[in-house]
Amino acid sequence: MSAYYRNVSAVLEGDTNTYWYLTGLQNMRYFGRLKNLREAEISNQAVGLLKTFDLWDARDQTVGEYSRGMRQKLSIIIAMLGDPEVLFLDEPTLGLDTMTKKAVMAHLESLAREKKTTVVLTSHELDVIDAITDRVLVLEHGSIAYVGRTSDFKQLYSENKYTLTVKGTVKTEDVLSDGYTAKEREGMTDITYSTISDDDINRVLRHLLEKRYEVIAFSKDSSRLEQIMEAFLRRKDHNHA
């Protein structure tokens, strides 16, 4: 059991894993010692990790003075002490500002890629899951509804919907399809095609470009996990009904 806990770390409930009256460095020392790491090992890793996560300048401040994002990063750093083979993270980006969230995501990705750490995370933020996971497990009412590669999940529940955002108003005859919805907002038009083949969407795109419309964005629903999850939940609701 001792060896198991030496190779496994966890960050639970984000920013409540540290002692607020200790400084960032004191927290690292305390938890490092509890992992039975040598003093020199703790110091060396602390310098590297604090600098990587931009907490070096705040190392001697008490955690009570840290922002939520800083506490979150410190919790992850502490969990990374001793290079665990498996890292469990519970909602690691919850409540973080955009920049900190991106930084945490980037660090987790590099941790998995460079140090070959297995990162298991739970999150309600689907953009985070979408951006950094290889495999996903979807829980529904306490049971496993799906487990497998994230890309396969997106393909499996894709409804082949395409969304085009075009500058200005698009004439009806230029839409070239029946199964669509269009919505104008702030000088742009969002057109969503719900039943269209790959060939037809290419034809629509070509046509719009020939007609000199400015295409601002183009995406398929399977490119975003959030849309796929909506489709997945709708399908489940539909089956239950």
Binding site: M1, S2, A3, Y5, R6, V8, S9, A10, L12, E13, T16, N17, T18, Y19, W20, Y21, L22, Q26, R29, Y30, F31, R33, L34, K35, N36, L37
Partner: protein, 252 residues
């Protein structure tokens, strides 16, 4: 193990430094209580050495009980308890080391208090090295009681609320205010096998001119303390298993 002790000691020192007013208030309160009981019940009527030993044991025992129940309750509220349960060291060992750190710090506080009492009150203290051995053995039993309370606090949020009752009950049974010989015989028999009171009695006997041999006293103390530690450990383990399976109760 040394690493664990160092970790807990340094953390506790920072905690004391951060919350130093609480410790000053605690010291002053304990001084006032000592003086009140001394002038109210002991002076002229009793044996001040007996009283002082009971009182100091009470400070140490209530410090340990408080740390292991209120401390766990605090860890639960701030969310650090889960972190302590997933470390290579077993959780009971972390708590036991915490107990010994509290013992070291509380003993230092006791010495400071004794110095203060010695300077301000007409009281003399005798010291015998046997007292130190008896205290060290008695702490084993306190740790068992502390572990049991930690387990209960982990599971039931309100356990820590009873800490004051336990603490003042310990004062009552410390023999500092009511001498053991004045208590009912049944109570005296029960107190003989409670590590806290057995330690106080042994310490009091060690200071008398006809002090018994230390070894048999220590062996008896070791036996009952080991028994209390084993019981406390068993309660803690049962609660910990339950918490791991069903989660902690955070309904305050």
């Amino acid at each position: 193990m040394r690493s664990l002790f160092r970790a807990e000691l340094q953390k506790y020192c920072v905690e004391i430094r951060t919350y130093y007013p609480d410790h000053i208030v605690d010291l002053v309160t304990k001084f006032i209580l000592f003086a009140t009981f001394f002038y109210g019940f002991v002076r002229g009527a009793g044996d001040s050495a007996t009283y002082s030993i009971g009182y100091m044991y009470w400070i140490i025992a209530s410090g340990i009980v408080s740390e292991l129940s209120v401390g766990i309750s605090f860890e639960k509220q701030v969310g650090t308890i889960e972190q302590l349960t997933i470390k290579p060291y077993p959780f009971w060992l972390i708590l036991t080391i915490k107990t010994y750190v509290v013992l070291v710090v509380t003993t230092l506080k006791c010495l400071l208090l004794l110095a203060l009492i010695r300077v301000t009150l007409p009281i003399r203290f005798n010291f015998n090295v046997s007292l130190l051995w008896i205290l060290l053995v008695s702490v084993v039993g306190f740790t068992g009681i502390g572990l049991a309370l930690s387990g209960l606090t982990m599971k039931f949020a309100k356990t820590a609320s009873f800490e004051s009752i336990i603490s003042y009950a310990l004062l009552f049974f410390s023999g500092a205010i009511i001498y053991f010989t004045n208590m009912p015989t049944v109570v005296q028999k029960i107190l003989d096998v409670v590590p806290f009171t057995a330690g106080i009695k042994a310490s009091q006997q060690a200071l008398t001119p006809a002090a018994p041999h230390l070894l048999p006293v220590l062996l008896w103390l070791l036996f009952i303390n080991a028994l209390w530690f084993a019981t406390g450990y068993w309660i803690f383990s049962a609660m910990f298993r339950n918490v791991k399976r069903n989660g902690v109760l955070n309904n305050y």
